[in-house]
Amino acid sequence: MTPKNNILIGIIVALLVVASYNVDANPIEFIDGLPNLAIVVEEMLHVEPKYIPTAIWAMFETIQMAFIGTIVGFAISLPLSMLAARNLNSKYVYAPIRALLAAIRTFPSILWAILFVIMVGLGPFAGVLAIIMYTIGFVTKLQYEAIETIDSDPMDAVNSIGVSKWQLIRYVVIPESASHLLSQLLYMFDYNIRQTSILGLVGAGGIGFYIINYIKFFEYGKAAVFMLVVLVTVLIIDWVSVKIRDKYIIKSQHGMEVTTK
């Protein structure tokens, strides 16, 4: 430990204390609150199984919202990412598109949901719109970064034939980045299901709407059923996407023969 390091650690600790004081982050309150948590957990253990069908239906609605949001968002982001990629466009094209995307990414999905609830009213449609916007902002960035890492040799070889830019995208860029694009699609769907589960907090549909209402009315046993369904669904989707990635993406990225056994 050099004296310089000690000073740095001292500064970080001092900032931690000051910031905690400013936001009333008191560890004693946390310890005092532990019995309250125990009460909630105890009440949650009184699971009410008769709500399971409702919870599954609400989860199904959530999955559908996430599905529409992901697919539509992805379809919009694909052409945008082609315009935002530096290896395909001049800076007069990609710079404004990137600025627009950065602005879209500034808002988390919950803020988009509030905006769309005001615009189209309460319900799942506002949630779908929020997921679309979030997907566009986020996935376009992933896509144009993937496009920029494409091997330049196939691009040069096909470009030297004198093809149009559209043909270059259709016949080189998309096939060359297909495994990345599929991987991002899966990741985004997985992520959007988790996100859609909380959009109900602002009245934008989905399973979160039930959870927040039962918690508001201290009906923790009912809330627990819905939370459990979210947990199981997320675990299943996580497992399925790992399987799909292993089978179709990892192998094709490594140039191995893809088997579908």
Partner: protein, 276 residues
């Protein structure tokens, strides 16, 4: 020796007087400070099999990129079939449709099939709607299959490129270039990583296609031996300058640049360069 070169020159002019590639005093730089090519002069006749030989970093690949408009020279004039190569020029862009270019890494798309890779050569002939929906006309598919047969890849049209061997990948790259119905074929070190037998198979294939289609083949090589074996003429590039232009006449190597070097002197000169 000088007499020999004169005879060969005049026999060329009888076949075709038309120069397909003319380069005068070409200087090229990637960063406008260090020049990769320093005052290159080249004149290539239509229908010849031309080779450019040099060590790594000699500027030979850059020379090819100038010929298909992928790069612009800093100084000097280039004419490809009497047109200045520039990708942004409409006239030259149309000409690019018939310039086959095979980069050293081949530039194949590994996730699509052999047939799809070859059909890319036909893209300039497709309408916008056909290329949007990937609807290749039946005659183009038949042409691709005919070329597949020519490059001895029949039966492998539905294989993904990453499943092929090095020699097979080169055949696909050649087939894609032939699919363009080219007048010029540019290939950058296409056989440098292959074993002796496969390298000769690939070179035979190109030589055959070159004669059959009356192509002008311009091939960059690392190995002078293979260049002399196949090419009508060989330009030797060293540190961005053309130091020799030679060819084989019967059993003798002929110096076309100065016309006064013996075969032994030429080989000695090249081997000196190789050792450096």
């Amino acid at each position: 020796m000088k007499k020999n070169s004169m005879i060969k020159n005049s026999s060329f002019s009888l076949i075709s007087t038309k120069k397909i590639i003319q380069m005068n005093n070409i200087w090229t730089s990637y960063d406008s400070k260090i020049f990769v090519l320093k005052g290159i002069n080249l004149s290539i006749d239509r229908g010849t099999n031309y080779a450019i030989v040099g060590q790594s970093g000699s500027g030979k690949s850059t020379l090819l990129k100038l010929m298909n408009g992928m790069m612009l020279s800093s100084k000097g004039t280039i004419k490809i079939d009497y047109v200045m190569p520039d990708m942004n020029d409409k006239k030259f862009k149309k000409m690019m449709h018939t310039i086959g270019y095979i980069p050293q890494s081949l530039g194949l798309i590994k996730n699509i099939t052999v047939l799809e890779n070859i059909l890319i050569g036909a893209l300039p002939r497709l309408s916008k709607i056909q290329s949007f929906f990937k609807r290749f006309p039946e005659h183009e598919i038949q042409e691709a299959k005919r070329i597949l047969k020519l490059v001895a890849l029949s039966g492998k049209e539905n294989r993904k490129v990453y499943m092929l061997s090095g020699g097979e990948k080169r055949r696909v790259a050649i087939a894609r270039a032939l699919m363009q119905k080219p007048t010029i074929l540019l290939a950058d070190e296409i056989v440098s990583e292959l074993d002796h037998v496969t390298a000769h198979e690939i070179m035979d294939l190109i030589a055959d296609a070159q004669k059959r289609m009356n192509l002008t083949a311009i091939m960059v090589h690392h190995d002078l031996q293979i260049a002399l074996e196949y090419a009508d003429r060989v330009a030797v590039i060293k540190e961005g300058k053309k130091i020799l232009e030679i060819g084989v006449e019967g059993e003798t190597i002929v110096d076309f640049q100065t016309g006064d070097m013996s075969a032994e002197e030429i080989m000695e000169m090249y081997s000196d360069d190789s050792q450096k």
